[in-house]
Amino acid sequence: MRLVYFAAVREAIGVASETCDLPTHVRTIDDMIDLLAGQSPGHALAFQDKARLRFALDQAMVPLDAALCDAHELAIFPPVTGG
């Protein structure tokens, strides 16, 4: 699965995107965040407060408990601030 990060999440992790193989126990975005948080101090910092994160699966906004299913791309970012 391709992971893409934006804004403060991207800066904390230090890369704009990466790929990750899905272990079988990872079913939802919530599971995925728990897995990713252990990858580096930057990941841990970026994902320390799940309530402050938003998610898109294949470019459609979804909640934290959404199932990953066969999605190709998971985007993780702070609440949006355009306009």
Partner: protein
């Protein structure tokens, strides 16, 4: 006419709204958002999610067409570094009578603020830069249209 443009060059209301007044209606309404000097901010910088940005903005326009009797609508949004005083976003709508264009314009900018994947960073004169936090007042305005 349904226009969505993401631009890394300066934008203008005149160009963004071009053609909306030629659709046979009696009303064109628009909103322009401008980079603001908030306590020493010299510029803002906008990041976005290419692909999702365009589709989410076009979806907002499509929804506006189902809710109001529109002849056209446009959303033009800057990305990259925007100096204080320059336009960040222009939203416009055309209709036969003013109520449809006015309400659609408010809908488009209110929902853009909460639905479209843009992120804003403020740059200050002393070199600091800070990501802008989302505002609960924006959520409140957006939810009026639910």
């Amino acid at each position: 006419m349904r226009r969505v443009v993401i631009s890394d060059e300066p934008i203008s209301a005149e160009v963004a709204l071009a053609g909306l007044s030629d659709l046979g209606g009696g009303a064109v309404s628009s909103f322009t958002g401008i980079s603001r000097d908030d306590g020493g901010v010299t510029a803002i910088e906008l990041e976005h999610y290419p692909g999702m940005t365009e589709s989410s903005l076009m979806r907002l326009i499509d929804e506006a067409f189902t809710r109001w009797a529109l002849l056209g609508a446009a959303i033009v949004h800057r990305i990259g570094r925007v100096a204080v005083g320059e336009p960040v976003v222009v939203v416009g709508a055309a209709s036969r009578h003013r109520a449809d264009a006015l309400e659609a314009t408010a809908f488009l900018i209110d929902r853009l603020k909460t639905d479209a994947p843009f992120w804003k960073k403020e740059h200050y004169a002393d070199g600091r830069s800070v990501w802008v936090d989302a505002k609960s007042s924006d959520d409140d305005r957006s939810s009026r249209w639910a």
